[in-house]
């Protein structure tokens, strides 16, 4: 069955307009990324193609694309709305990136914008789980030879994999406790500080269910709603050269499943004589009004 592109686009258009307006209100500028980028190992996702014996990625992950284009000049506040390909599968995403030297401020700002954009969309029943890769790395410092298995266990939340490791029982317990740590506070300064600075009941410290994507440096977060079976977004902090970035991406198609579209009645209805009505409409638009032309 083919998708109803017109009706879906109407919803996505409404969501995109709201998201774009929130990002702009926070002082972010839209970045228009080329759809086709030259192949680079640091470029994530995209549809890999060859053209005239060169390798390219079509619509790759924008965060990695922005990171590769970054030269200097902090702070950078950018956002994007576009389709992202993973092979031939595409999803429409809205994302935001904040690069600055203050690694606490960028996380606080990004998480506040995240909450504000979901509130603007009237999605109140969302949660943001905040985890930390650094806490995991520190915990397994003394058993580094098992890092690969432990991160595999973390990705799948697989207690049996940890059970099978040849490590002392107290270490296993420490890892199990981390996997089961999900609360308002977690006893780790960097996450608890974020919880204090962003005092929102929908934020959770969670060290066991946030997907540990490899390009994030430390703090990672996952956004979800009980009404959707998948995370509706994800984000985290990363390094670009010597600078720090933090950002998130929202899956607009999943958000569309829970978004209640509101009729925009802020239009001036214009009708009547063909010439006169369009002249009037032009004047109204020039003055900043929105017009809806009669059928």
């Amino acid at each position: 069955m083919k998708k109803d592109i017109f009706s879906e686009s109407e919803r996505l258009d409404s969501i995109a307009a709201e998201v774009r307006s929130v990002f702009k209100r926070w002082g972010y500028k839209e970045i228009f990324l080329p759809s086709v980028a030259e192949h680079d190992e640091d470029l994530k996702k995209g549809l890999k193609i060859t053209y005239e014996n060169e390798f390219y990625a079509v619509k790759p992950d924008p965060t990695s694309q922005i990171a590769l284009s970054f030269k200097d000049g902090l702070p950078i506040r950018k956002f994007y709305l576009r389709e992202i390909l993973d092979g031939i599968n595409g999803t429409f995403q809205a994302g935001i990136e904040y690069l600055c030297d203050d690694t606490l401020k960028n996380k606080v700002e990004i998480l506040n914008i995240l909450i504000s954009v979901l509130e603007r969309l009237d999605i109140e029943d969302f949660y943001v789980d905040v985890g930390s890769l650094e806490i995991w790395r520190k915990t397994i410092e003394d058993i580094k030879e098992y890092e690969e298995e432990i991160f595999k266990a973390l990705r799948r939340r697989n207690l049996s994999l940890i059970d099978d490791l040849s490590i002392p029982l107290d270490k296993k317990e420490e890892l199990w406790n981390l996997l089961n740590l999900r609360d308002k506070r977690c006893g780790f300064e960097k996450i608890d500080r974020l919880m204090d600075l962003i005092d929102d009941e929908r934020l959770y410290a969670d060290l066991g269910t946030v997907r540990p994507l490899p390009y994030y440096d430390d703090i990672i977060f996952e956004i979800y709603s009980p009404r959707v079976g998948f995370p509706i977004g994800a984000g985290g902090e990363y390094r670009v050269g010597g600078s720090h970035g933090c950002g998130f991406a929202l899956n607009l198609e999943l958000i569309s499943e829970i978004y209640e579209i509101e009729e925009d009645d802020d239009f001036v209805e214009v009708d009547g004589d063909l010439k006169a009505s369009y002249e009037r409409a032009r004047e109204l638009v020039k003055d900043g009004e929105k017009v809806r032309m009669g059928i």
Binding site: R157, N158, L159, R182, T209, Y224, P226, G229, F230, P231
Partner: protein, 202 residues
Amino acid sequence: MDLSIALPKGRLMDNTMKYLKEAGIDLDLKKNRELVQSVDGNKVVLSKPSDVPVYVEHGIDIGIAGSDVLEERKSDVFVPIELDFGRCRLSVAVPEEKDVSVEDFEGYTIATEYPNLTSEYFEEMNISIKIVGLDGSVEVAPRISIADAIVDIVETGRTLKANDLVEIEKIMDVSALFMVNRISQKVRFEEINELVEKLKEV
């Protein structure tokens, strides 16, 4: 518990029901052909084992199926525990009269229900093969000359023997897995953790 549960029809079903019962979920399923049943407030979906991970990924709270189908489907689900049943292996088998190893498979045609795992396995070995995707009774393929070898589940080896095939290489060990939807794990954190604890004790 008010959960949605995907259960695998077929060889894993009896042990699955036993495990769940011992963990406190006693599902008295109707013996008719209803594939979605309401049982004590739970919604039970009876599905092909290979579809269980897909259902769980797409919003069913929990499910049980083999690690073979999860790896084949690449479903994004949590797997808190491996269960102590459904143990078998995914293996490469060839007709008895063939004296070959997998290193000799360049250009071979392989029949399988696991096209992704099979191509990954041979890609890693840098061996180019052709896959014939089948949905059951893969052992027939070499006998009617549409494939040179098969990749399939081997439990006792009796089916292979009955079809004049011999196992030459194991690709992976397989066991039943308890799967949890990523969002259900977050939203019903305590409840699902308690269930996992009980399953661990079975």
